[in-house]
Amino acid sequence: MNFLITTKHYLKRFFTNPLEVALMTLLPAGIIFINILVFDNIANEAGADNMYNSYNLAATAITMMILFMFQLMSGVYAGQSIFVDLRQDRRWRLMAAPVPMSTYVFGAIAASMIFSLTTAALILGVSFFAFNIFLGNIAIVVVAVFLIALMSQFIGIIISFFAKSKGAIDGIVMAISFTMSAMVGGFLINIPVPQFIRENIIPTGVAFRAVGVYDPINTIAGYRMNDSLIAIGILIGMTFLLGIVTLVIARRRPF
């Protein structure tokens, strides 16, 4: 019961700041829209065709890129909550309550996950209806989004153990997200990375592989489910590893 109470508490705090809500929903939608307009224009001038079987492949790739980039940023909420509540003076009051510390941590993670998955659903919904993106196997998309969001929570919490300020957590998580996005397809800048590393080691790249961004036509044709499942397996392994690292650090640097 206390877990539900702490989750509800953190959700309430996340939604009290309308700027944060707008940042996680309207901003990605806006970026996707602008990128699609730009890319459509470039493709048309080059005489290329974005569409395949009525699906907009460019819009699909851009949506997934922005979606996973923002999901990878979502861990900032759990990280900042842990930092402010359990690493500063407020921890004395929270520790004085008859509630184990883990309840606060899991509550923050759960609330942050709900917040980020809600924004993911909004982004996908808007893109699906507005830009005719191809969702492929919706279960694979949901699992990939879930795992990237969960990975981000662990990253946010790990950073909160070492950060000196709330703003530092924000900066580091965003830097990680932007860098990984730049490594897998370019967001504003493109960091060239060998294909093997991009599709097997960089989390956003593995997520793209899972949802078929790198091979959209075969995805649409339905010939690449095994590849998707391998990518999902890699994401599960990465998430599990990050979870273990979080636990080890939490034990060594107790609240």
Binding site: N2, I5, K12, D89, W92, R93, A96, P98, V99
Partner: protein
């Protein structure tokens, strides 16, 4: 006893924060924990609340052994932290609801307790506002309210009046008396003698991680009733003046605080006149008075320091 601390030791590296501390808390009393900064008051109450582990010793609360993992004991305890630890992004009402729910309150019982506490701390009209819109006194009252919402049997208040205006301070002191009158045992830590004298039944004086004296105000002051406290403000203060005063027979100690000399002298020794003569030879007297001993004097006699001195501190 509602709680006991026996032979408690807590170290932070080489620094001994609690040095074989013994402390007994009687049910229903307001116990004042008086001592300068760095005496170990906050460490003692954190250990009592099960917020930190100790290196040695026994801490029992409500007949059960206290530890960092003992969640049951915490159900009936409340803590008012020295720092403001409410959520600034939630209204006062939402703060109270959250803390009340952490202690198991639900539904109508929770709302009833929240309403009662808002009335008690006089924030009913401001219940829907966030603490960043509050004055310092209002924030302190909310800080206290969050510790009361679940009706604790044992309430620990760690210097709750630091940094607030005198009017709000008086309000808080009155609130503490009212809380105790309703049956809650209160431990009140402070380095302000006036606060402790105003509200506490029993006082434990701490210094360097241990209790150096304990009892009622009369019992503590009675330890030095054979001594007078003479306060001299010299026109030209100097160490040479202090040395000459120390040399007077019957003078037990001379402590300089700024340009004031606090002199402990044996009662009936007639030293007031001698001290005045010496001060005149050293440039004159701005003011001189002789007071009945108080808690500050008790502390000074026992430690050679004043309550406002910086302790070794962590």
């Amino acid at each position: 006893m509602i709680a006991t601390m026996k032979n408690v030791v807590k170290r932070y590296g080489d620094f001994m924060a609690l040095d074989h501390l013994d402390l007994d808390i009687k049910e229903g009393e307001i116990l004042g924990l008086l001592g300068p900064n760095g005496a170990g008051k906050t460490t003692a109450i954190r250990a009592l609340c099960g917020l930190i582990d100790v290196d040695r010793g026994d801490i029992n609360v409500f007949g059960k052994r206290q530890s960092i993992n003992n969640v049951d004991i915490k159900q009936d305890m409340g803590i008012v932290t020295q720092e403001l630890t409410v959520f600034s992004d939630l209204s006062a009402q939402d703060n109270l609801k959250y803390f009340g729910s952490l202690y198991g309150l639900r539904g109508s019982q929770l709302m009833e307790n929240v309403k009662r506490v808002l009335e008690f701390v006089e924030l009913t009209e401001h219940a829907k506002k966030k603490p960043d819109k509050y004055s310092g006194g209002m924030k302190s009252r909310l800080n206290i309210g969050c510790a009361l919402v679940h009706r604790p049997k044992l309430l620990i208040m760690d210097e709750p009046t630091v940094g607030i205006d005198p009017q709000s301070r008086n309000h808080i002191l009155e609130a503490v008396k009212k809380i105790a009158s309703e049956g809650t045992t209160v431990i009140y830590t402070s380095h302000y003698m006036e606060e402790v004298q105003a509200i506490c039944n029993n006082i434990a004086i701490m210094d360097a991680g241990r209790v150096i004296a304990g009892g009622t105000i009369d019992e503590l002051v009675g330890r030095i009733q054979h001594e007078d406290t003479i306060r001299l403000i010299a026109a030209m203060p100097s160490e040479a003046l202090a040395e000459d005063i120390r040399a007077i027979s019957g003078v037990k100690s001379v402590t300089m605080i700024g340009n004031e000399y606090v002199i402990i002298s044996t009662t009936g020794s007639g030293n007031l006149n001698r001290i005045m003569e010496i001060a005149m030879r050293h440039g004159g007297v701005a003011n001189i008075s002789s007071d009945k001993p108080n808690l500050e004097d008790v502390f000074l006699t026992l430690t050679g320091k004043t309550l406002r001195d910086e302790g070794s501190g962590q």
